[in-house]
């Protein structure tokens, strides 16, 4: 076990099986909806059937009369009927934004499916019937369903201050002067769709009132810190709410904002009984949140030799009915808007706008995926306009280490973009022949940067506790929810590396706001970086203790002590090996703590300059490229992705299987984003209410993926690891769009590229006069 790979590591980088996988393949893992408690009530949410309406009254009498119904709640029964999400730094036109969402609709509903009332009953059947019988009287209000229309002065305002909830800008150089230097200018408007997270586990949970009156909620969430939100809504001290969320059936950002937590908290608090609430798939699709549709107006200028000189961007994001995290998503989009390219003159303006569409917020890629579709389509169009090879054109313009983004942030760590692009392009191999008449094969490339870790002025931290137990095994406690990325397993692997024990000797308790030290959210591709660092720190402290104890026992200097294969010994004399069990006993005798608690504080930074958008916003970025080969049916517009290669500098691969798993899954989600997925909403009403109409990729829609992992060792996480969860999705859609262009010479500027859209784009191109 001591460094079998010659990498200098014992287990880091190995393809160790995840400890949680065993439970998962035997059906033993209990997900949020898998717990049943005695006397448990069944809950249902009554949802608005209008996208924009005033509530004239709610009659719950018939619902209450249904036998078995224990509780019907409306806004007036909620102690504090508001959830806040603070957005620091929104100080311009809209003021410091304390984005408010009502828990239950009080006076007005702003989107279809907004929660209006809650029901809890002895049986699910009674709860469903009662929910149907809650009579809500609405009068329609004028609605606005297009963000550009919502910005107009005469648009019906969702907030008294207007529909624009966020504005950001980035100013670098002199854009007008830059465009004067340009020989080629490409201007295009890109649009992306409203996307559902479509995790296979719907939002769900079970809550109960525990000892000492603690409202305890075992739910599917990426954020156990929502105990504070629940406590605030109930008017309880934070210590009276506990959230447990160890292993989650997929998150992708859709379990980042509050979902079932507050509803369960209210019903448990009011009834004193255990309560179960599990959304139906239709409810999951209807309820917040989704990925923002963006309108992105891009204009790039380049010199004849392929040097980029100017970029002007306008971003408009549709926030839907409530702000949620829209201003922050937009900020991410701003910083990523220019892509990983050196452009001397840049101007980016962004707005986020309320509409009566479904509310949008966090989604894997968090504002970095939408602009990547635009800037990488632009790079492809520019290369073609200049008669340059798309790879050579990018190589000329990639930013390097030590250079600065348009937002002024310096790239302080390795930027291996040229290598990632070359590697994926090569990995596609010789081109495939078309499978039949009317079929065309094409290839596309896309590169991207994606931030990982939270915004530096949010002062992110994580914590972990580790203990050598009396039997010689190791226990970790940390408040990380594992959403499927292998978060828990990687933490074990980190501790195993440092302590020299097999991973089977390490147990981990995660995701409990009362009993595990808080680790922050499983979002923003931050857990390996942040909680990995916290575990690294705690395990290093424990290691130091064990080394000290061993040195004392063996009468050798601490520097001579080795911990390996679950034993402690002196390198100078390996004869006497001390088991970890002996070591635990020795520590106890010596009154030496066998545990360590560590807090990892991310390096903090100053708030950016709001007038110029200049400043450091993110701790670091992950860089990578993807190349795809598609086959397009010229006649029908069908696109089949045949090959995908993806290459990322992940800094350090802690578990190679998990890294590849993130890449493969990100690519699949990217294929859905590119070709299949769109929550189609007409006048605020979704037309794709289930997984028959909202289409996510099946095994037949996704090819095998060639993953290429680079390890610069320069990331911010343990041993220089970077995050890969979100970055894996980002380049796929533009790579596919570029491949489609390569195949048939048609550029589709709107996602998803459905067969019909491609057909229409081709019709339009054929109808247009030749240039």
């Amino acid at each position: 076990m001591t460094d079998p790979s010659g990498s200098g590591f014992r287990v880091v980088g190995e393809r160790l099986p995840r400890p949680d996988a065993r439970d998962k393949v035997h059906g033993l893992l209990r997900y949020a909806d898998d717990l049943a408690l005695g006397g448990m009530l069944q809950a249902k949410v009554v949802r608005a059937i209008r996208p924009s309406a005033r509530i004239l009254g709610i009659d719950t009498s018939r619902a209450r009369a249904v036998p078995g119904v224990k509780c019907v709640l409306t806004a007036r029964n909620v102690p504090n009927n508001v959830l806040f999400s603070d957005v620091p730094g929104q100080t311009t036109t809209v003021g410091p934004l304390r984005a408010r969402t009502q828990v239950l609709a009080d006076d007005v509903v702003r989107y279809l499916g907004e929660a209006v009332a809650l029901v809890a009953a002895e049986t699910e059947e009674a709860a469903e019937e009662a929910a149907r019988l809650v009579a809500v009287e609405y009068v329609d209000l004028p609605g606005v369903y297009d963000p550009e229309a919502a910005m107009q002065p005469d648009a019906p305002p969702l907030e008294p201050t207007g529909n624009v909830i966020s504005r950001w800008k980035i100013r670098k150089g002199d854009v007008e002067a830059g465009f004067r230097e340009a020989d080629v200018v490409i201007a295009e408007t890109y649009r992306t769709g409203l996307i559902d997270h479509a995790f296979i586990e719907p939002e769900a949970g079970v809550g109960w009132l525990d000892d000492n009156g603690v409202v305890t909620l075992r739910v599917a969430t990426q954020v156990i810190e929502h105990f504070r939100d629940v406590a605030n809504v109930l008017g309880l001290p934070h210590s009276r709410v506990r959230i447990i969320a160890p292993y989650i059936g997929g998150g992708f950002g859709g379990k980042e904002d509050v979902t079932v937590e507050v509803f369960l908290g209210l019903l448990v608090w009011k009834t004193g009984r255990p309560v179960r609430l599990c959304y139906s798939r239709e409810e999951s699709i209807l309820s917040p949140t989704k990925r923002h549709p963006f309108v992105m107006k891009y204009r790039h200028g380049a010199r004849r030799d392929g040097t980029l000189v100017a970029l002007q961007v306008e971003l408009i994001s549709d926030a839907g009915g409530y702000a949620y995290l829209s201003p922050l998503t937009l900020l991410y989009a701003m910083v990523h808007a220019a892509g990983p390219y050196r452009i001397p003159h840049v101007r980016v303006d962004g707005v986020s706008v309320l509409t009566n569409n479904p509310p949008t917020s966090a989604f894997r890629g968090f504002g970095s995926a939408q602009p990547a579709f635009a800037y990488e389509s632009q790079m492809d169009a520019l290369a073609r306009a200049l008669g340059m090879d798309p790879l050579a054109f990018r190589e000329k313009n990639y930013l390097g280490k030590g250079e600065r983004l348009a937002s002024g942030q310096e790239l302080e760590t390795a930027v291996l973009l040229p290598e990632t692009a070359r590697r994926v392009w090569q990995a596609l191999g010789p081109p495939s022949a078309p499978s039949g008449p009317g079929k065309r094969v094409g290839r596309g490339l896309a590169s991207a940067l994606t931030a990982y870790g939270r915004i530096v002025w949010l002062h992110d931290w994580s914590s972990a506790w580790i203990e050598l137990q009396m039997d010689g095994t190791v226990l970790i406690r940390t408040g990380v929810p594992d959403i499927g990325g292998g978060q828990a397993a990687s933490l074990i692997q980190i501790a195993a590396e440092l302590l020299g024990v097999r991973q089977e000797e390490i147990a981990i308790h995660i995701g409990d706001s009362a009993l595990t030290p808080l680790a922050g959210t499983t979002t923003a591709t931050r857990q390996l970086y942040m909680s990995g660092s916290a575990v690294h720190k705690a395990a290093s402290e424990l290691r130091a203790t064990l080394v000290e104890q061993t040195a004392e026992l063996l009468q050798v200097p601490p520097a001579a002590v080795e911990l390996a294969d679950g034993m402690a010994y002196a390198r100078t004399n390996g004869e006497r090996k001390i088991s970890f069990k002996e070591l635990a006993a020795a520590c106890a005798r010596a009154h030496r703590s066998r545990s360590a608690f560590a807090i990892y504080q991310a390096p903090a930074g100053q708030v950016m300059d709001f007038e110029t958008g200049q400043g450091k916003v993110f701790p670091d970025f992950t860089f990578g490229s993807q190349a795809v080969e598609v086959e397009v049916d010229e006649t029908t517009g069908e696109v089949q992705v045949q090959r995908v290669a993806a290459c990322y500098d992940v800094g350090r691969a802690i578990n190679r299987n998990s890294v590849e798993g993130q890449i493969e899954g990100g690519v699949a989600m990217g294929i859905g984003y590119a070709l299949l997925e769109e929550d189609r909403v007409a006048a605020g009403i979704t037309q794709t209410p289930n997984l028959m109409t909202y289409l996510i990729p099946t095994a037949l829609d996704v090819p095998d993926v060639t993953s290429i992992i680079l390890e610069s060792g320069e990331g911010m996480g343990p041993w220089g690891a970077r995050g890969i969860g979100e970055p894996a999705l980002v380049p796929t859609a533009p790579a596919i769009a570029n491949a489609v262009f390569d195949a048939i010479g048609v550029r589709v500027t709107r996602l998803p590229i459905t067969p019909e859209r491609l057909w229409r784009a081709r019709q339009a191109q054929e109808a247009a006069p030749a240039r």
Binding site: E128, S280, T635, Q640, M692, P697, T698, L700, W759
Partner: protein, 286 residues
């Protein structure tokens, strides 16, 4: 969402099933359940009684009959896909079975259910229509046969009378080249945007002896593009002749715009896919 309440009757013979159905006007037959139970859950249908016909021996089996095939109404899509008889004698039907929903659904969904559900884009109906299938209905008063074309009445409407079930589908000898293509929005589990089934038989001199063109999801019910077929009969399938027939097929379509596609796209796809199907029929031999 829970299913609404209903009574459940498990039929063990065809006579019992048809009698139960005839006696209860609010009863519906339950075969694979892949459409019916979804309709119940979403309250599009709320029958008082479900008569389970899943175990009826009279509805089982795929047999060779007079050079053609007889397929029981209770045969699942998975059984169609596994059948060598279907593979040999009705390749278009086999292709439709292959493209039908997914592995799990194919193990439950039945031929009779797909016919009786009468969706405008019903996957199995389109090739069966092109293969001149006849439908055998069994009711309390006995059996009757009619053409599949006559069976289909409109969207979700069929010739089934109270108490009647699809006992079997009979396919005559079908020479020539068969083709089925379902244009969907994804590979796995797709619902048809447009589906096309064709069968073309040629004379020794390359003239078209017989042509069948069936279209799905582009009209209130699956239908045969008879004018296009007539334009082919007796002619050599030159590119011009094929284009003419494809135009006639497109003109016969009455597509709507919905979440899966616009009417103009659907019409254009009828033209394109019919032309593609006819182009695949090699000239000179059947």
């Amino acid at each position: 969402m829970l299913l609404p309440r209903f009574e459940y009757r498990h039929a063990t013979s065809l006579v019992q099933a048809t009698t139960l159905l005839a006696e209860n006007p609010e009863a519906r037959p339950l075969a694979g359940g892949t459409d019916l139970l979804v309709d119940l859950r979403e309250r599009r249908q709320t029958p008082r009684v479900l008569v389970d016909i899943g175990a009826l021996p009279e509805l089982a089996g795929i047999t060779a009959a007079d050079g053609g095939l007889a397929i029981g109404g209770g045969v699942t899509v998975g059984e169609l896909l596994a059948s060598s008889l279907v593979f040999e004698r009705a390749p278009a039907l086999r292709q439709a079975a292959h493209d039908f929903a997914d592995f799990l659904t194919r193990n439950r969904a039945t031929l009779g259910g797909n016919l009786a559900n009468a969706s405008p884009g019903a996957d199995l109906v389109i090739p069966l229509l092109a293969l001149d299938a006849r439908v055998v209905l069994a009711g309390p008063g006995g059996e009757r046969g009619l053409s599949l074309d006559g069976f289909l009445r409109g969207p979700r409407q069929t010739a089934l009378a109270a108490g009647e079930l699809v006992r079997a589908v009979v396919l005559p000898v079908a020479g020539g080249r068969q083709f089925f293509y379902k244009l969907g929005l994804k590979r796995g589990g797709a619902i048809a945007v447009v589906s096309v089934a064709t069968r073309v038989e040629l004379e020794g001199d390359g003239r078209c002896r017989a042509a069948a063109i069936a279209l799905g999801a582009v009209a209130p019910r699956p239908f045969r593009a008879s004018e296009a077929e007539a334009a082919l009969r007796g002619h050599v399938l030159t590119p011009d002749r094929i284009a003419h027939a494809a135009d006639l097929a497109a003109a016969a379509a009455r597509p709507i715009s919905d979440v899966r596609g616009g009417d103009d796209y659907r019409r254009a796809m009828v033209r394109a896919l019919v032309a593609r199907a006819l182009s695949l029929s090699p000239p000179g031999n059947g």
